[in-house]
Amino acid sequence: MEILFVLIPIAIILLGFAIWAFFWSVNTGQYDDLDSPAHSILFDDDDDLIPDDAKQEKVTTTRD
């Protein structure tokens, strides 16, 4: 079990890296808007990215 003396320090170094990454993301504003990205994944506005032959017949857009 002497391997613990290597693994635990590595875990602490990784933790330090995680904290650095977290600070970077907070400081660059990644957490400023927590609402809209959650919805934007549901908007299929990628029509122009789909090859024409793979497109399915689209239902006319209606409300709801």
């Binding site: 079990m1 609402d35 809209s36």
Partner: protein, 821 residues
């Protein structure tokens, strides 16, 4: 004489904004091959712009019909708006909020009005990026700010802002003040603290599991020591960085001789850490690093949510400063010079054109006009002002040009005074934790006394164990669950209500709403909409309702009067050679025909008839007549309408056992009419602000618990005097800052939800406090007798905290209100 041509009852709703389509109109937009009905040309223009930019997905993504009715109509913006937007291209005005980057690109932050859901964000971002010259546009749904980067050679800021107008939103420049920047910094710092505590807690907990397992089945000493040392290393930043706010607050409280919850929290965290560190160094005793980090993390979550609730009101303050125009026309050596409003000085002479906002407080030196002071007073009818009258910065000049001498600028203006008042309201610590704080004082004293007794007793029995047992008493009684009991419940309920349109700004609201006995409403702007809207259109003879509406709107398009606003959304044409008769009506030419709109006598004089109010279809409301040179064309009824959902709200409130009253300064027949329609028995009309306050105080002296709901400046004393006060979202800002809560969406039905949820919150707080005290009462004697091992203390603490938090989370759903028959 008049007939309603389209008498068929359509209950159609506008495809764009979801409001009822008025009878007799047929505005239609082609949406992907389907003809969809629209309520007005404004919605039609916006919908067509959205479709033509290929953004029809917007209608699929948006949630509900909450999109607002566009203020503007037609594809062309009114000239006043265009002029105003052009001002933003002026470099001296831009310097306040635009950053110039390399190669002619510029960046600005705008506050966007009208955002309701994520689909709005999607629509704005895509529409803006499609404009030529716009490089980047990102819209923040949380604070409604748009960051836009564009190439100044290819486009201008005014055309970007016009593009925002075209899809039904409005953009205003955003320039944060120092306080706003500090708030952002504070929020980020709190979030970093939370993150460090969370990461630290997870790591320490992992190590602790090894230690717990070791305690049960044996562990080699070298590993135990090593794991303890690593726990110490990880827990140290959590204590020094994340838990710091608790220590500073505790030191402050001790200095001011006031025991708050921060004191026992600091004692528990600090002593557990120091003892664990000592145990690690000397290789003796027990370690409690897991408890230290977990406790810090749990409490920081509570604090963070509470802080967020407090910062929400910060947005209102920014919106208020937007009222002040960014520019002013200064008269210098008989020349008109456009300067930024911030450069105005006392005794400057400025020119304010009709439709423009007054740049600072001043006194009129020439001109006669009416001024819309609704921003300040909530009164929607403009007030006549003449030479030597004072006008207030931020209000709007309605009719004719005015020259002012500036009397106050910057921080001395009335508007800034309001902002300062708001600042004070924010500084005031929300009373959220106060119940727990009063418990805390007794609790701290009790714990400290018990700990002393325990250590002295054990010193007599077994001096070697005395220290560790005393410490376990301190850790076990660590008031984690107790200090979380109230804040978590209040935070959960406050958050839920905010999502549903009630913003709570003071802590006692949830408690006092639950115990309320009387609900008292103001009339104008609270039970009614507070602005004139077109109630009924009666075309004369064979005229089509839509065509007469368009003529009326064309005439009214040039007026800034509140009456004109009721017609604005029908505007597709424009009239020429406009002439207005003060207090009478308007005359103008459309094509080759001359028309008049206004008071019946004034309008009918054009076609040589004599019609008065008595000729109107009925006597309710205010009727306007539209005439051509040949004949009367149509009657329009304008009225202040009762708010949607008011009937339902009042009947639910009655069923909840609340007494409903109406308190109004109005003295007209409208008071009885509204009271009759809503079946309110107790009405006190014709009251001054002092009377209102006296009435409420008298009620409260008789033991009633009063909730007052109002909107205007005249309601402010009574809002401040009532036990609980709620301002409507459309209320004047001064009223909002004086109220304990704001109905953001002005959706009055939310009141019932608030009352139901506040009652549930009270019972959940009681359950939480009972549980937390019970846990401490059971754990304390066990710890004092030395039966509690560290892992038991940690498990007990987390389980009791989780139960409290889980119980509070039941408040994230609204209580169902049973439908009224």
């Amino acid at each position: 004489m008049s007939s309603n041509l389209n008498s068929q009852h359509r209950l159609e709703r506008c495809f764009h904004c979801g409001q009822d389509v008025p009878n007799g109109t047929h505005f239609v937009a082609n949406i992907k091959g389907t003809a969809q009905s629209m309520c007005c040309p404004g919605c039609k223009a916006v919908a067509e712009t959205i479709i033509s930019s290929g953004l029809e997905h917007y209608y699929k993504y948006r949630q509900g019909d909450s999109a607002i009715v566009p203020e503007l109509s037609g594809t062309e913006l009114p000239s006043t708006v265009q002029d105003e937007l052009k001002l933003y291209d002026n470099p001296s005005i831009q310097q306040a909020f635009v950053v110039t980057l390399e190669d002619n690109s510029k960046e600005a932050t705008l506050v966007i009005e009208g955002i309701t859901c994520a689909a709005c964000v999607w629509l704005l971002e895509h529409h803006l990026v499609k404009q030529t010259g716009v490089d980047q546009a990102s819209v923040n749904l949380t604070n409604h700010r748009a960051r836009i980067r564009w190439n100044d050679n290819k486009t201008s800021l005014s055309s970007i802002m016009a593009a925002i107008y075209h899809i039904g939103y409005q953009g205003h420049p955003y320039h944060p003040d120092k306080e706003e920047q500090l708030l952002t910094l504070e929020k980020k710092r709190a979030f970093r603290r939370l993150g460090v505590a969370g990461l630290g807690m997870m790591q320490v907990m992992m190590m602790s599991i090894a230690l717990y397992a070791g305690a049960l089945q044996g562990i080699e000493d070298k590993f135990e020591t090593f794991i303890r040392w690593t726990s110490l290393i990880i827990a140290t930043p959590v204590l020094l960085y994340s838990a710091r706010p608790f220590f500073t607050a505790a030191i402050r409280d001790i200095k001011s001789r006031h025991l708050s919850m921060d004191v026992p929290v600091s004692i528990a965290v600090g002593s557990a850490y120091l003892a664990s560190a000592w145990a690690t160094i000397t290789q003796s005793g027990e370690v409690y690093f897991d408890s230290v980090t977990m406790f810090t993390f749990f409490l920081l979550i509570g604090r963070y949510l509470e802080m967020q609730a407090r910062h929400r009101t910060g947005r209102a303050g920014n919106a208020l400063l937007n009222l002040i125009p960014a520019s002013a026309i200064k008269i210098k050596d008989a020349q008109e010079v456009l300067i930024p409003a911030t450069e105005l000085a006392i005794n400057d002479i400025v020119l304010v054109k009709p439709g423009h906002t007054i740049p600072a407080d001043g006194i009129i030196i020439t001109g006669y006009s009416s001024v819309d002071e609704s921003a300040l007073t909530g009164e929607y009818r403009p007030i006549n002002k003449t030479v030597d009258d004072l006008v207030v910065g931020g209000t709007i000049n309605v009719e004719s040009p005015l020259r002012l001498k500036i009397t106050e600028v910057g921080a001395d203006t009335k508007l800034s005074a309001i902002v300062r008042l708001l600042d004070r309201a924010q500084e005031e610590k929300p009373a959220v934790a106060k119940i727990a704080d009063s418990v805390a004082s007794y609790f701290v004293a009790a714990v400290l006394i018990t700990a002393t007794v325990v250590s002295v007793t054990w010193w007599q029995i077994d001096p070697g164990n005395a220290f560790w047992i005393t410490l376990s008493v301190l850790v076990v009684t660590c008031p984690c669950a107790l200090s979380l009991a109230t804040p978590t419940a209040l935070t959960a309920a406050t958050g839920t209500l905010r999502q549903h349109g009630l913003l709570i700004t003071r802590g006692h609201v949830l408690e006092s709403l639950a115990t309320a006995t009387h609900i008292i409403f103001d009339k104008t702007g609270t039970l009614t909409e507070g602005n004139l809207s077109l109630n009924d259109t009666q075309a004369c003879g064979s005229h089509d309702i839509q065509s007469v509406l368009e003529i009326a709107a064309a005439l009214e398009a040039h007026s800034e009067h509140p009456i004109a606003k009721a017609f604005r959304k029908y505007q597709v044409r424009t009239a020429e050679t406009m002439h207005s008769e003060l207090g009478q009506g308007l005359e103008g030419t459309i094509g080759t025909d001359v028309y008049r709109i206004g008071k019946p006598q004034f309008a009918s004089a054009l076609c040589q008839q004599h019609l008065t109010h008595d000729n109107a279809p009925n006597l309710d409301g205010q009727w306007l007549l539209l005439c051509s040179t040949k004949e009367p064309l149509a009657w329009f009824c304008l009225n202040d309408q009762i708010r949607k959902g008011t009937h339902q709200t009042l009947s639910i409130l009655r069923r909840l056992g609340l007494e409903i009253q109406m308190l109004t300064g109005d003295n007209s027949g409208a008071v009885q009419e509204v009271a009759r329609e809503l079946s309110i028995d107790k009405v006190i009309a014709n009251t001054s602000p002092e009377d209102k306050l006296a009435y409420i105080q008298q009620l409260q002296n008789q033991g009633a618990k009063v909730v007052m709901i109002g909107d205007g400046i005249n309601d402010i004393p009574v809002l401040a005097g009532a036990q609980t006060s709620i301002a409507m979202g459309s209320a004047t800002d001064l009223a909002k800052t004086n109220a304990d809560a704001v109905l953001i969406s002005s959706d009055i039905i939310r009141l019932t939800d608030s009352i139901l949820l506040s009652r549930k919150t009270q019972s959940i707080i009681q359950q939480n406090l009972t549980w937390a005290l019970l846990y401490n009462l059971i754990a304390l004697p066990l710890a004092a007798m030395g039966f509690i091992a560290p892992y038991m203390a940690a498990i007990g603490m987390s389980v009791s905290s989780l139960i409290v938090v889980g119980n509070a989370l039941r408040l994230t759903k609204l209580v169902r209100r049973n439908p009224v028959k």
